[in-house]
């Protein structure tokens, strides 16, 4: 009798969990389907169409857009620029912020002031940040050239413009990575360092033999998310590069190209194709990193 009642109660509970569960999850699911799932399908669909006005009157063109995207040198220039950006931004921002995190991960004077300063660029709009840096980089009147006593065309020389922009990226993201590393470092037991000190290991040695392996999961996480973020660079390039800038062709990123073809030239089919191309690139790189992590990430 008691057992039966329990069972009835159990199913009543299960039913109520079912109802409440769906009730709670429904707004998010509807939102995700409308805002994300449908758009992915639609973007992929559009990449096979030539765009009519405002998405109406589209003509099916098969893989034409893909052929055009892949045979256009502009795409490969953009891919190269995107990679160049990522190759500077990711390793430099990670190395610098890791060093800062290690230095700040102890009781010391001014610790929170330093943390506040390094994190500051994170709360500024990239649109404003890019304008300030553009002024610093100004070849005639900029502070940087004045300090260096040079006349370097930081953002209009096609050979260096993307690296100059990557410097802005590094400056903007250091604080964010640093904060993530500090919270990773706080999990490392203090005894390890004490034991290492007794054994006579120097600070540098401790950094490479204890700190790096023990926070390698955090480093891996920051690496994956930063690479994905860097491959989507847009704001800084858009704000720094005028449309008339001679270095634009060699500096525009894939997302910049996507913006330009979708919303300036209004060729949304072509724009969709570029963004699908970007999705594939990001997926390949992420899978590659997942495989590579087995070689260097240490999970305790």
């Amino acid at each position: 009798m008691a057992g039966k009642k329990q069972k009835v109660k159990g199913t009543a509970r299960a039913r109520s969990e079912n109802i409440w569960g769906w009730l709670f999850v429904l707004p998010t699911m509807i939102g995700l389907i409308v805002l994300n799932i449908y758009p992915i399908i639609n973007t992929i669909k559009q990449s096979f169409f030539k765009t009519g006005d405002f998405g109406r009157g589209d003509i099916f063109v098969g893989v034409d857009n893909y052929v055009k995207v892949l045979s256009n040198s502009e795409t490969w220039d953009a891919l190269l620029a995107t990679f160049k950006y990522a190759i500077i931004e990711v390793p430099f921002s990670i190395a610098i912020s890791l060093v800062l995190a290690v230095l700040l991960n102890r009781k010391m004077r001014g610790r929170s002031a330093y943390r506040t300063i390094f994190f500051l660029p994170m709360v500024c709009a990239p649109a404003a940040v890019a304008m300030v840096w553009r002024w610093l980089f100004n070849s005639e009147f900029g502070l940087l050239n004045h300090i260096l006593g040079a006349k370097i065309q930081w953002v209009s020389n096609p050979k260096i413009a993307i690296y100059a922009i990557a410097v802005i990226g590094v400056w903007s993201i250091i604080g964010y990575n640093m904060v993530l590393f500090i919270s990773g470092l706080q999990e490392v037991p203090h005894d390890y360092y004490e034991a290492a000190s007794i054994d006579g290991a120097t600070g540098v040695r401790q950094f490479f033999s204890i700190t790096i392996p023990l926070i390698s999961p955090t480093i891996f996480f920051v690496c994956v998310t930063r690479i994905i973020g860097a491959l989507q660079v847009f704001d800084l390039i858009f704000m720094v590069m005028d449309t008339g800038n001679p270095a634009l062709q060699k500096t525009q990123s894939l997302v910049y190209l996507f913006y330009q073809s979708s919303f300036v030239e209004r060729n949304m089919g072509y724009g969709s194709t570029i963004v699908v191309f970007l999705l594939v690139i990001i997926m390949i790189i992420t899978v590659f990193q997942m495989i590579a992590q087995k070689k260097w990430v240490y999970y305790s």
Binding site: A14, E17, N18, I19, W20, G21, W22, V25, P27, T28, M29, G31, L32, V34, L35, N36, P39, I40, N42, T43, Q46, G55, L103, G110, S112, Y114, I117, F118, F119, L120, M122, V123, C124, A125, P126, A127, A128, M131, V132, W135, L136, E140, F141, L143, H146, W171, L180, I182, S183, F221, F234, D242, Y259, S262, M268, V275, V276, L278, L279, T286
Partner: protein, 276 residues
């Protein structure tokens, strides 16, 4: 402390001070330039570091030209609604995914994870077409639209709920609470720090967003701070003191809020960023 350790500490302090100054140079230069005349800012022989006379005309002029009150208002409304929607929907969905057994939970959760792995630009064209097909461009709703729900926030809140002990729900159930009451009175209040983290994260990223506001709201009365700066740059390319004044006015409110609540900001970003 040995002498060696002492010198080491001094070296570290000097290094950190130099690093801090380097980080602050762009801000300092923005402020100094914003108070100079155009002539002074483009003078190279001799190069002027501090304005000889601190003028405020750059500020009054950009405030007149750009209608900053309106820009602040639009930006604030966008941030406010995005934060409210994100926290509300993510709290509900996070609880369901973290704590309730219901049919289809696995599928719902895969949907959340899937959204987080895809680059956001892939959603933009269809989102834009949806908004323009219902004639809602140039509205606050259009600005909020992509942020009505958040996969990332749902994931964050789910993790927060999963960290809470089981006994709490049992106790509430024995006291006669149904699931809705348990959620509202017992569980949701315990995830307040995750909600604050998500709120800050959402606010900062809404403030920094450029591409969406730029394409969806082109009317000059419906711009937000970042899209207005982008537009302004196209118009006054050479007037750097005014551009710096506008940048400063745009960034200042967020910087002030950050300096007041820096602990919550940094912890909020660290917990949400780290859980991703």
């Amino acid at each position: 402390m040995t002498a060696r350790e002492k010198t080491m500490r001094v070296v570290i302090q000097i290094f950190l001070i130099l690093a801090s100054i380097t980080m602050l140079v762009p801000f300092i230069w923005m402020i100094l330039t914003a108070f100079k005349t155009v002539t002074e800012s483009t003078q190279i022989n001799p190069f002027v570091i501090f304005p000889t006379q601190w003028i405020t005309e750059n500020f009054t002029e950009v405030i007149d030209n750009m209608n900053f009150i309106l820009l602040y208002k639009n930006t604030l409304l966008m941030i406010f609604f995005r934060v409210v929607c994100a926290v509300l929907t993510a709290t509900l969905a996070g609880y369901a995914l973290g704590r309730l057994n219901f049919k289809g939970r696995g599928l719902c959760f895969s949907l959340v994870l899937f959204q987080m792995m895809v680059p956001a630009q892939i959603f933009i064209i269809p989102q834009y077409l949806m908004i323009s097909s219902i004639n809602m461009t140039n509205t606050i709703f259009a600005l909020v639209f992509p942020g009505l729900v958040t996969a990332f926030g749902t994931f964050l809140l789910r993790q927060a709920y999963m960290g809470l002990p089981r006994d709490l729900e049992e106790a509430a159930r024995l006291d006669g609470c149904n699931i809705g009451q348990t959620f509202l009175f017992i569980m949701a209040p315990l995830t307040r720090s995750a909600m604050v983290a998500l709120g800050i994260f959402t606010a900062v990223f809404a403030f920094k967003d450029l591409m969406w506001p730029m394409i969806i709201n082109t009317d000059k009365n419906m711009l937000v701070l970042s899209s207005a700066l982008a537009k302004m740059q196209g118009q006054y390319t050479a007037n750097y003191p005014q551009l710096m004044a506008a940048s400063l006015i745009s960034c200042l409110p967020m910087i002030v809020i950050y300096l007041i609540f820096q602990k919550q900001f940094i912890e909020g970003i660290a917990t949400s960023g780290g859980k991703l």
